[in-house]
Symmetry: C2
Subunit: 429 residues, 2 copies
């Protein structure tokens, strides 16, 4: 074993960074044995230098992250600051000054992954980010390496723990969205400003990263269709139950049937209770992968939290250090397939639509005609009525999102349709 240590600069020492530092200390011998050389924490960049940080040598702490990554003797920079800047500039500066990088930054990777990979390649360095998607769950490495000899057709996952906690609460207690969110906030599962989670931004970033890796193409954040879960109601859960389903916020990346394009989207959807993703409870994450040869695989575990995320960061750190010792680099970006990303209108799936309609004869015929005119074929219809008001629940066969959109627009124009109470996609069948 080499005795000269590999030097690690830690950028950020918050929820994730503090756990990375802790495990680097407590597991130092194991890390050294697994890497083939000891690793040394050479510097820790933070915003507030005077905060007491247990187990961190104060002489290592600096607010000058730029100077730290420019030192020139750093082997690996671990970026766990988050956000776009200064993280982006720090990472590219690190490459230019000879370091490889491990990051947990999904927002940055989803937005600028291509440029960062290019910077890594130019400098012959590694960029690893297993922790950026689904925390502790090994997903990037299995997709990029284990399935490298296979053709992935679909990735379907619960990749945001906050929203899964909320939806699970709504499902199990009948609570409304706000009540469930309040509980998530009180228990620390939701941040004070939960927008990134509940509006699906966080999941969309992960979908972009996953789609790119799964299909060997480039998927930008803007390519991902995104719908949050703030409008999911207790009534939606009741409807889902009647269908033998539950509701999950899903990230779905698909290769088109002809193989010539891909789609990526995040939205709430009904899935059958028999689907393995339906039983993913609380803040857990799980991702389903379908490929030509392997068939259906599922990966399940904690999608966030300081120590699970640190586990993923440290797995990458070991890999990058090993690469460094052997003078090699790991598999970088693989976007050779260069497939176009189709718009949401091209996505084909099933739909569950609840309509408030006048309770009089002929309404069903009118509604059915509209579906037929738009080429959307109906699977089942359920009518419930009393006192001149009625509701109509329509479940369709597979149709394009564009066709469904046209159908709904036309339905809204019918005199007998008082309103479209909800539209939800049905997945996982």
């Amino acid at each position: 074993m080499r005795t000269r240590p590999l030097k690690v600069a830690l950028l950020g020492c918050g929820v994730v960074g503090s756990e990375v530092a802790r495990i680097m200390t407590t597991h130092a011998d194991d890390l050294a044995a697994r890497i083939g050389a000891p690793v040394e924490l050479a510097g820790v960049a933070v915003r507030r230098p005077d905060k007491v940080r247990e187990g961190i040598d104060p002489s290592l702490v600096t607010t000058d992250a730029t100077a730290l990554v420019k030192r020139g003797d750093i082997d690996v920079v671990v970026e766990v600051i988050g956000g776009i800047e200064p993280a982006r500039t720090l990472i590219t500066t690190a490459f230019e000054h000879g370091a490889s990088v491990v990051s947990a930054n999904k927002a940055l990777l989803a937005q600028d992954g291509a440029a960062l990979h290019a910077a890594a390649d130019e400098n012959g360095k590694d960029l690893y980010y297993e922790a950026a998607v689904a925390g502790a769950i090994p997903l990037i490495r299995p997709l990029r390496e284990s399935l490298a000899g296979d053709k992935v057709n679909r990735v379907l996952g619960i990749v945001n723990g906050t929203t899964n906690f909320i939806l699970d609460k709504m499902d199990s207690t009948g609570a409304g969205y706000q009540e469930a969110l309040d509980e998530a906030t009180a228990l620390g599962y939701a941040e004070a400003d939960p927008t990134a989670d509940v509006e699906g931004f966080d999941a969309a970033a992960k979908a972009a990263i996953l789609a790119g890796i799964a299909f060997h193409t480039r998927v930008r954040l803007d390519d991902v269709y995104r719908e949050g879960m703030t409008e999911v109601t207790a009534a939606d859960f009741a409807s889902a139950k009647e269908m033998g389903c539950t509701i999950k916020l899903l990230a779905i990346c698909e290769r088109a049937a002809d193989g010539a394009s891909v789609t990526a989207r995040v939205h709430p959807a009904m899935i059958p209770l028999s689907h393995p993703l339906a039983s993913v409870r609380g803040a857990y994450n799980a991702v389903f992968v379908e490929s030509d040869a392997a068939g259906q695989l599922m990966f399940y575990g904690p999608g966030a939290g300081g120590s699970p995320t640190a586990s993923a960061v440290l797995g990458d750190l070991v890999a990058v250090c090993r690469n460094r010792l052997s003078g090699a680099t790991g598999p970088g970006e693989s976007a050779y397939a260069a497939l176009p990303v189709s718009p949401m209108g091209d996505v084909v799936t099933r739909y569950h639509i609840s309509l408030d309609v006048a309770d009089k004869p002929g309404v069903l015929a009118q509604v059915a005609t509209v579906f037929a005119e738009h080429g959307v074929s109906i699977d089942t219809v359920r009518q419930q009525g009393k006192d001149g008001e009625a509701s109509l629940v329509v479940v369709t066969h597979r149709a394009s999102d564009a066709a469904l959109g046209g159908t709904v627009e036309a339905l809204r124009k019918l005199d007998t349709v008082r309103g479209v109470a909800s539209i939800m996609r049905v997945e996982g069948e």
Copy 2:
């Protein structure tokens, strides 16, 4: 991209090998793009040269596997013959003649993994075998790489599809073992001689491989306690149901509480229906991993079959080819922890014991005394009796296997105990 192809020798062209060859042809462009060089099938060794093999150029087929691996121009040998010899000698010969090796051979890896890894290291070559455990499910790579910065404490899995199919059938239909086995055989899930599966030999080989990788130590096949599932009865399933459990054949690798030793075992066990492994249906496999930082992870998918297994083989092939191009080798055996493997008697778990007893006063007191004398504490007892015959179902708290063994031996000596109908471990709580 390099235009000179990497040369692959395929040893064996049966269920798995024929799929490897097929995908190498159909996915040639993707493989080339992902590796950075084309791969060429340079030779195929089989036993029966005259068998028609669709898609295989007959001029590549040979019965002289030894000559093929000695050719000297082979970059990667894919060993999918199975069994100990000639596979073992072919693999070491391959290393000596400059090739790296990808294998799906769990029996060989479990028996001779250490020697094969040593041969790979001596020659500076790679030995990869993702397909040897749980077919298509990425497991070796996540354990060896993704969790390389973490400390794994437990691996608990369903790693044999044949037995899971049989047990699932017994559970869902109430069938007995023989009936379920017959159905598995008729559907091609069980081989004509099912011994390796139903007696747990196959699962034990996988347990040895998993324990070694998870705990960075060496676990030999002989170190694995093994009990098959041929004696599981419909009555056991009925008892399991009463406890809110089902029965699975589990491979369990554990680090002792003090961290100083490990155990590895394969046996049928009751697990709660709420445990994610309880809902693994049919011939699917799933493995639960518990580690310090990541917490609980689960990996699920098809554990066997030609094309799923080929997916894993090809993932390894891509990795090994990439290593070859960069002049590096991947992470090899990591056995630095050198932990002793404790005998089964040291394993601590819970037990479900059914006794046939005389239906007279004082029997329960006698039985309870025996448990107490052996330091095995009882959680619940259920008594059912009629016509002078009764049964007593005891569920214990956690106790060592040695203590339980002593208890059962003493119980058998009681006049009032007519027989010990079944003993089953209870796991996953």
